[in-house]
């Protein structure tokens, strides 16, 4: 449907004054002019679509090369926005169109209202706001890892399969990238690849990879694939893994350490998303080697699957497993007991009895030496420490004085008041 343009240059043809039946006098300013009136101009020869296309269109070859896609391209604006039938340059009241016919008991008539000088400016402002490419503004809760990009954002639970619904599941995008390949027939083609992790926060999680020509389609494929490939993980005490481990996939290595309640997830952001999906709340993971998200995800999942619960460890070792917590005064808490327990004589000499070493398969993490801070080796530092001894305790003293007297003063301050400064 073609829309008529109104740029204010189209004149309204005055009504024929001669034709006046029944003494009907319209309240129009009637002007009779002899100049020629143009009803048809460039702007209303063709519909808006075609006009805009003539300015913005790019040839097929040009499109393939990427012409007309950059920042300088002209954006199509709908110029009918902000304009209503009945409201124009000359502010008129049209009963039946822009106002009711009968208002109260009065019969309204056509009349000219005072002009609105800012109308044009408002319209221009509106049209200008449509031109700039607006960056999608997300609120911090919806935001992913950065800006308005997809990685880190949630895309809801996977689609239900038949009657099974994925209740409690949430998927997070880990990677969304566009891959360009050269094809013989088409030339350069663009594909979107998405990596997604899904989980219900209670031990069930899975990751999936999806490819498609469109981004949302790739995400959907990945999400559903992740929903198909769910894995169950045991979580110790509902907040962390059972023991430290080391995994690698390709050349990406991860050292994962179990942490206590309240520590948080101190790891790579991808691992953080996975942990949140599984339901692990406290963990420390160090990624070494190439930081390839797909490798990290695969390595982490492999490591988690290879984990052994406390019961399994006790059965393997045929020894009691006891937990010591510092906040419980290191009370020995029996966590797992095997069916058969070995005695001290049955344990061979070279067996690793240390828990961390056994669990890391006899590998040790290299602990780097901590070097002193740059100022500690400077010559004046020792002298500074000696001088600092004098007022090392002053903060606490000031605090105690405030507690006792309400201000930094002693019992002698009121007895010997300080002289008041003379105001000039």
């Amino acid at each position: 449907m073609s829309k008529l343009l109104s740029l204010g240059k189209v004149l309204i043809k005055p009504m024929n004054v001669v034709f006046r039946p029944n003494n009907f006098t319209p309240n129009l300013q009637v002007t009779l002019s002899t100049s020629s009136v143009h009803n048809v101009n460039f702007f209303n020869k063709l519909p808006a679509e075609k006009l805009w296309k003539s300015v913005t269109s790019v040839s097929n070859a040009g499109a393939k090369k990427g012409r007309g896609k950059g920042t300088g391209r002209i954006r199509i604006r709908d110029l009918n926005r902000g304009q209503m039938i009945g409201v124009g340059k000359i502010n008129m009241l049209w009963p039946g169109l822009s106002a009711p016919v009968i208002r109260g008991r009065e019969l309204l008539k056509q009349q000219r209202l005072p002009d609105d000088p800012e109308r044009m400016e408002k319209l221009i402002k509106l049209r200008d706001s449509m031109t700039r490419f607006r960056r999608l503004r997300l609120n911090p809760i919806e935001r992913g890892w950065s800006g308005s990009k997809m990685p880190g954002r949630s895309i809801g639970p996977p689609d239900p399969i038949g009657e099974d619904e994925f209740t409690g599941f949430d998927t997070k995008v880990l990677q969304l990238r566009s891959i360009l390949i050269m094809k013989g027939s088409l030339g350069r083609t663009r594909n979107y690849q998405a990596m997604v992790v899904t989980g219900n926060g209670q031990g069930l999680a899975g990751f999936g990879l999806g490819k498609s020509k469109e981004a949302p389609a790739a995400l959907r494929k990945a999400k559903n694939r992740a929903g198909q490939k769910l894995m169950h993980f045991e979580i110790y005490d509902g907040h962390t893994i059972f023991h430290d481990f080391y995994t690698a996939f390709g050349r990406t290595k991860i050292f994962v350490q179990k942490r206590n309640e309240g520590y948080g997830l101190k790891c790579h952001r991808a691992i953080k998303e996975i942990c949140q999906a599984i339901g692990i709340k406290n963990l420390r993971a160090k990624v070494e080697g190439p930081i390839n998200i797909q490798h990290i995800v695969k390595a982490f999942f492999i490591g988690l699957l290879q984990q052994r619960t406390h019961k399994q460890l006790a059965e393997e070792k045929k020894l009691h497993l006891v937990e010591y917590k510092a906040e419980n005064e290191y009370y020995p808490k029996l966590v797992a007991s095997p069916s058969v327990v070995r005695t001290k004589e049955e344990i061979p000499k070279n067996e690793t009895l240390d828990f961390v070493q056994y669990v890391m398969n006899d590998k040790l993490i290299l602990r780097k030496k901590k070097f002193p801070r740059f100022y500690e080796t400077m010559p004046h530092y020792q002298i500074f420490l000696k001088k600092y001894e004098k007022y090392r305790n002053h903060e606490k003293i000031r605090l105690n004085l405030k507690v006792e007297h309400g201000d930094i003063k002693s019992f002698l301050t009121d007895k010997y008041p300080e002289p008041k400064e003379q105001e000039a």
Binding site: H243, Q257, K258, R259, N260, E261, G262, Y263, K317, L319, H320, L321, V322, E323, Y324, K325, A326, E327, N328, E329, Y331, P332, L334, V335, V341, R342, T343, K344, I347, L353, F355, V356, Y358, E404
Partner: protein
């Protein structure tokens, strides 16, 4: 032997009533009961009774040490940031060793603060020099900071402006010891928590008994009148509100039980024990009373019974199955408690009612366990 007095103060103003023996009285707002503190001052010395091994054993059993509560996470444990737990592989023998070490640690944590008599005033004049009058307007306090001398034996002397050389009294001694050899947690000035009665009662109303008692242990020595005042008010408050469970498995339950038994007001504790079904502990409590006051009809029976009770394990929760030996022991305990209620108790009706209830419940339990044993074929 001083009696506990609890008075209602219906008049408008808060009264500060001074008795002859007691140095200080707590003033509480008009609508509440006024608890009168009572100290171990007087002719009878609680120390020999408290430190006797028999009484210590009784008190230890009465505290019912529950390891999950003894080793619970505390805010003042000195661990500002939680650490990751460590794991160990142990054989059965090593495990037993660890448990015995844990029991020793529990004993240490449950070591009871001593119950002793209030200390005597120190008033020794070492020398008189009237020729030194006018030397200075201030007192001189001399402390001997020799290394290796215990704080109680330290030489702390004062030279008064009128020329007298005296050995200092206990409060000055404590203050100077804290100045030169500070103990962590102790403050030189008395904490507002203990001196301000409003704050103190607020704490008690909020049931922070353990905090109050722990701080009192750190701040004061056990033979100070202030300490005795604070602890006696706390114990009476607990007794009034029957919140014994808050102090169970802590180190303060022993002195609490001792205090109540000393002042002949352990009947509400007895009632609570009967209501919760701990007949054996009721017997232990009665035996404690006999050990301190020796005024129960069949006291020697008590002693014999306690000898039988000690080897049996600590009852933390209600038992599900009973063996014949358990049933015998419990029956004897019930008879003993019955006799005690009839002869010595002051809350006869309530305690009898509780005992009756326990008897019925116990009968059911006996029938159940006997039935189970028959079903399993172990008649």
């Amino acid at each position: 032997m001083s009696l506990l007095i609890r008075r209602f103060v219906p008049t408008k103003t808060c009264n500060v009533v001074l008795k002859q023996n007691e140095p200080a009285i707590v003033v509480i707002s008009r609508r509440k009961l006024s608890i009168v503190p009572s100290m171990y001052d007087g002719e009878r010395d609680p120390a020999p009774k408290f430190f006797s091994s028999y009484v210590q054993k009784l008190l230890k059993r009465l505290t019912r040490p529950d390891f999950s509560k003894v080793f619970r996470k505390r805010t003042n444990s000195g661990v500002p940031v939680l650490k990751t737990p460590t794991y160990k592989f142990l054989t059965s023998d090593e495990l037993e060793l660890e448990f015995s070490k844990a029991r020793l640690k529990a004993d240490k944590l449950l070591q009871m603060p001593p119950v002793v008599k209030v200390h005597q005033k120190i008033d020794e004049v070492l020398s008189q020099d009237p020729a030194l009058v006018g030397y200075d307007t201030a007192k001189y306090l001399f402390t001997d900071i020799t290394f290796g001398v215990a704080n109680e034996h330290r030489l702390i002397i004062e030279r008064d402006p009128d020329g007298f050389l005296r050995s200092c009294d206990h409060d000055v001694r404590k203050r100077l010891n804290q100045v030169y050899f500070p103990l962590k947690g102790r403050s030189i000035k008395e904490p507002l928590m203990f001196s301000d009665s409003e704050k103190f009662n607020n704490l008690l109303d909020r049931e922070k008994y353990e905090f109050v008692l722990d701080r009192a242990c750190v701040q004061y020595e056990p033979d100070e009148p202030n300490y005795q005042r604070v602890t006696s008010i706390t114990y009476q408050h607990i007794d009034m509100n029957k919140k014994y469970d808050l102090l169970r498995s802590t180190r303060h339950f022993g002195p609490l039980a001792f205090y109540l038994t000393w002042h002949q007001s352990m009947d509400s504790l007895m009632l609570e024990l009967l209501q919760s079904g701990a007949v054996r502990e009721a017997v232990l409590l009665a035996a404690l009373r006999y050990a301190i006051h020796s005024d129960i009809a069949n006291g020697d029976v008590a002693h014999a019974l306690t000898e039988e009770i000690f080897p049996s394990p600590v009852q933390l929760s209600k038992p599900e199955q009973l063996s014949e030996a358990d049933i015998d022991l419990d029956n004897k305990c019930i008879e003993f408690v019955q006799k005690y209620i009839v002869s010595n108790s002051s809350m006869k009706s309530q305690q009898e009612l509780a005992l009756q209830g326990f008897r019925e419940y116990y009968q059911q339990l006996v029938e159940l366990s006997r039935g189970l044993q028959k079903a399993h074929g172990k008649v």
